[in-house]
């Protein structure tokens, strides 16, 4: 069975380590915060100037001066810090964030990612995504394996304008966890009940398949 959005987030959450500073993008990545493993503490970085993003406020504690990068009202966790956008991206660009999780339209086997622009449609802008992919050593991309027409988004070469070049090393989709190295996707885990054949079929890029592909534990 293909993973639900929640299950993708659960699988990503297994990559969290105690003491990690983490930046979660909009969409599925945001859900990761709901599945932090027991005994693991993480601090969420929000690129608009907050380290230590807390849960959503109540109607009573809502504060228009306290939002996240998705412009949602949030709270500050214990031990949080506020700072300017320049300081925030100094953290990101300087490689101080331990893990970045973000969505994408396409990734390819060179580690390129396209996530911000579909020519011909309105272009809203890249926001902080280009800085995030350029700054992080440790990035997980969450996305669906194919679009609604069944076309693979796990490509030999991205067709859309790039967000970053040769920066992505791990992708988690509803079907599989893959690593990108040496110019190919490497299948590491598959969703429970999903066959290697289905993954191969929906993967346009070169896919290296080891003898044994364990199922994810979600």
């Amino acid at each position: 069975m293909a993973l639900s959005r929640e299950q993708i987030a659960m699988r990503v959450a297994q990559e969290l380590e105690d003491g990690f500073y983490v930046n979660l993008g909009i969409g599925i990545p945001t859900l990761v915060a709901n599945y932090v493993p027991k005994g693991v503490e993480v601090m969420m970085q929000s690129e608009n100037g907050l380290l230590g993003m807390g849960e959503f406020p109540t109607e009573e504690t809502i504060d228009p001066d306290l939002i996240n990068a998705g412009k949602q009202t949030v709270t500050a966790a214990t031990g949080a810090a506020f700072f300017s956008s320049a300081e925030s991206f100094a953290m990101i660009r300087g490689g101080h964030v331990d893990l970045t999780v973000l969505g994408a339209f396409e990734v390819d086997q060179q580690g390129n990612i396209a996530s911000w622009m579909i020519p011909g449609k309105l272009v809203k802008g890249m926001g902080g995504a280009m800085d995030l992919v350029a700054g992080a050593e440790n990035i997980i991309v969450t996305m669906t394996h194919a679009n609604k027409h069944g076309q693979s988004k796990i490509l030999k070469e991205c067709t859309l304008p790039l967000t970053g070049a040769q920066c992505i090393k791990r992708v988690i989709t509803e079907l599989a966890l893959m690593e990108i190295k040496d110019g190919a996707f490497h299948l590491i885990e598959r969703a429970p009940g999903v066959s290697v054949e289905e993954i191969q079929e929906k993967t346009d890029g070169d896919l290296v398949v080891p003898d044994n592909v364990p199922e994810m534990n979600v």
């Binding site: 929000s46 109607e59 412009k71 320049a86 660009r93 622009m117 272009v123 070049a165």
Partner: protein, 233 residues
């Protein structure tokens, strides 16, 4: 009056010298931490041909969305701008040029402008459209893009508190782009919620020292509109 008393008493005075075709920075992230009254005043004055540098472009009818109504912006420099139907229309019709800049690069370009750094290298955007036409360089095995800095004729920022000398503190994530923009304006105008006497702000926790600020105005009735009102289930 002391030469350090930067308080002005009207929005007209706050924007004296603001002209058509100027470059103007406007603080804020989305609608959080924007100088609402100064934005309204530029709307009232109706100046045209502006180059607006701001992370976002407001929403229809609020914030920079108002400048769009009067077609006041000829060039918009920002990182995420399309939350606004009118914006889309002006962009597609070619009435407005838009220079999309990665958010961190935008923040750093503004900081650099204020700090006398004319250009710097960053890995952000290498190999993407953002790097097209720009100098790139491999330094110690990694590829970087050379980005020039940004300054402005006016910087319009929003702070929480100011003293009369222009020392500023910001509140929570309403800080965002405001401190860098304060350093990068030839004339920096701070719209604030409260003005106190010198000495009332702790010198150890000033976010923006007064040297960067030319004018301070106490804002009327900040609306502080929330874009994504999200509460705990």
């Amino acid at each position: 009056m002391s030469g350090f008393n930067k308080v002005v008493n009207s929005y007209e005075e706050a924007l004296e010298g603001f002209k058509d075709d100027m470059t103007v920075m406007i603080g804020g992230f989305g609608l959080c931490g924007i100088p609402e009254g100064l934005i309204d005043q530029v709307y009232k004055m109706g100046n045209k041909g502006l180059t607006a540098i701001s992370n976002n472009a407001g929403v229809d009818g609020f914030g920079l969305g108002k400048w769009l109504e009067k077609r006041q912006i000829s060039t918009m420099i920002g990182s995420y701008v399309g939350e606004n139907e009118l914006f889309e229309k002006l962009l597609l019709s070619g009435e407005m040029e838009v220079i999309l800049t990665p958010q961190g690069t935008l923040a750093e370009k503004i900081r650099a402008g204020g700090a006398g750094i004319p250009a710097f290298f960053t890995a952000t955007g290498f190999g993407t459209k953002v790097a097209e036409g720009k100098e790139t360089r491999n330094i110690d095995g990694r590829d970087y893009v050379l980005e020039p800095s940004l300054t402005a004729d006016f910087a319009l920022v929003k702070a929480w508190k100011a003293d009369t000398m222009g020392n500023l503190i910001f509140n929570k994530t309403a800080m965002n782009f405001n401190p860098m923009m304060a350093t990068a304006g030839k004339i920096t105008v701070a719209e604030v919620e409260e003005i106190v006497e010198p000495g009332e702000l702790d010198p150890n926790y000033i976010h923006t020292p007064g040297i960067y600020v030319q004018r301070v105005i106490k804002g009327n009735n900040f609306e502080k509109r929330i874009e994504q009102r999200t509460v705990k289930a």
